[in-house]
Assembly symmetry: D3
């Protein structure tokens, strides 16, 4: 078991974008839209939890390198059948930030679940996936069809 | 914003079971089945990451109560189109452990992704959901149809 | 050096309330009131940071006991010359939660500073203090004159 | 909500100095001076807690960048009406360390409070503020009048 | 892989005592005895690091239960050929604190190493072991011959 | 007390190798060799715990610098009288990674202990020591005689 040696890689700017969503009942979604969730502002909490989780990634995922992050942005917004999450993470380092972006989306989604679970325990976290990454030896990678778009299209 | 007061609730045994899966390419799945993943034993790492994440849940999810956990088990196994994850968390406390079970599944799924991402960046974490919970005032809750079964059925 | 043994104390409900404030320039305060802070919603971030810090208290303060918390609420609101912070922490355990309440106020205050520091580096965190505590052998303690009131009175 | 992108900034040496104090009763202060605090060496514990908190800053303050620190020094010394704290933090990175210095002072102050609270629950943490910072685009900033000096002068 | 379920065990008082030592050169030991270590007070730092590590045990050791601790004491003192460490940890819970005591000793030993490594990189951490535990179903366990005594005897 | 300023040192590749072992009864060792430990795969858990502990080093050891790590590998294997552990840690930074390597070995050893303690509470963690380090101003350091070899020779 090993955290692979990246010491010989160049420090370059690397960016990763991940998305995901929490599918929920109409009632739960209406509470978010109306700002009527008892525990507080769901979307603000989700965004902050996502940003903080990006920073905790090496602590959560055993073989992830601890690196500095130069920027993190997490978006959370209500869509047709739930809440859509998007994280953009940047670094100038020897390894990519795909895991940081995916961890940010996961934590933001879990936070949405937590704040609404008394209303809807059946919520499902789905389509947590990398959308785009750039930088490093493997260069640019982009998902062929964004499922996030599909969800919006289906609404 | 507040972590709701559970001080007046009884300490009772509470159990939560959550599941999720990582959908991946045939090539990535074959590497797991053959034990040929360069970074090491994917399923062992996912299980441990899941258990450790259950313990970090209050640190990840802003309004989650910090509580003692009496037991955590995480299963990870290859299925038809990917890896299926299941976490069972128990406590004897004043609040449930749904979030701990969901966080364990999420971290285990992220770990699977991390260890295979050089093979398949398109993997998708999906169907992260509560299956069952018991204990506390709200009693037993069970999901009507397990999507995990659907995935196996589809294979 | 030791974390004192509280094993023989009773588990009782204990509550602590702490306050503090961040004194800032008129310009910085106006930005908060207008919701024009570039980094995002200052007061929401401060509340969440406070709640999360309450949970991290035993990790921050060397001799603090790790205990479960049954409830945490953090308030942050603009007052005459800055932002006033108030944390209420509850537990049902063998030791009090004064440190958790003070840590919550401190982290919330630091978060306010962080989000506004590009506008006003001269902000001062002041009057971080216990207002009230109840429960346990030492019973109720209450501050004679709340400096928080004095600040409001001065406005 | 976002952790601002600092990827385009230069890595330069940056230093920040923060101070603060814990105002306390004559009895509490005498215990420190006499080395008679039951829990152990207050000033040594405060210094260490401050240094460790500087390293935890990105975990405490939601939008703080995780960066390497090249040096941290925390001083804690009895003054006329309490304990004065001073933290000096250095980095060679793309963003400043004001928050690390302020977090170090805050944690050191909380540690002083914790170790003496059975003697004096009325202690107040005050004047937690940046004294000086250098490095980066915004260059040098220095506080006009150090309140720390005022406290010493008043003694 | 699982954290075993202790939910059916009784909450009883449990105590564990562990010891260990750092064997070092005469020069390094003399620096400690003379209080001439550049980085600061070695023994105070070791004690605090040990106490804090006891609290972090479930975060360090994958299958350890997160539990409350009712007391922790760490001793560090120079002996004939190095520094001897001893940790006593107590809880009132469903599982023992052997790991907390061993983790406290290990972290205290690592801290001693860290503060003296520029003087002696050859230091060895040895005899980290449980001395005694009580409480719980398995009752009292005591080590037959304390190796700590042997070390003192050899001096 | 201070974390020494390394800001003026060069960023160079630095490597540290540490070893240690857990001495145990024949019965405990046979369980590992047979893969019959109830809690799961001891050696996989030890390796992962070691890697994760390397990343937590600055959080465990008060005066350790927080730095990025470019690679970590932990080996754990049964030998004549127990389990031998070896950690190799690399960075490209201003300070060495001896503490990270020693912390990795310590956490791996504690994990071995934890998973076998119901079989053998008398296990001893011993010979946790630096074997080799390179990079930085002080250049290469190597232990004269590896005690790990002695243990293998004795088997």
């Amino acid at each position: 078991m090993r955290m692979v040696d990246v010491g010989s890689k160049d420090k370059t700017e690397r960016v990763a974008v991940a998305t995901g969503r929490v599918r929920m009942s109409t009632v739960a979604l209406a509470k978010i839209r109306a700002g009527k969730v008892e525990k507080g502002d769901v979307l603000a909490a989700a965004r902050l939890a996502g940003i903080m989780a990006a920073k905790k990634t090496p602590d959560l995922i055993p073989l992830c390198h601890p690196i500095g992050l130069s920027g993190v942005e997490v978006e959370a917004r209500p869509v047709a059948r739930g809440v859509e999450l998007k994280a953009t993470v940047k670094t100038v380092d020897r390894t990519g930030v795909e895991m940081e972006a995916l961890a940010a989306v996961s934590a933001a989604a879990l936070t949405v679940y937590d704040m609404l679970k008394s209303t809807d325990r059946g919520m499902v976290i789905e389509a947590v996936q990398l959308e785009h990454k750039s930088g490093g030896r493997s260069g640019v990678w982009a998902r062929a069809h964004s499922s996030a778009k599909k969800m919006r299209g289906a609404s």
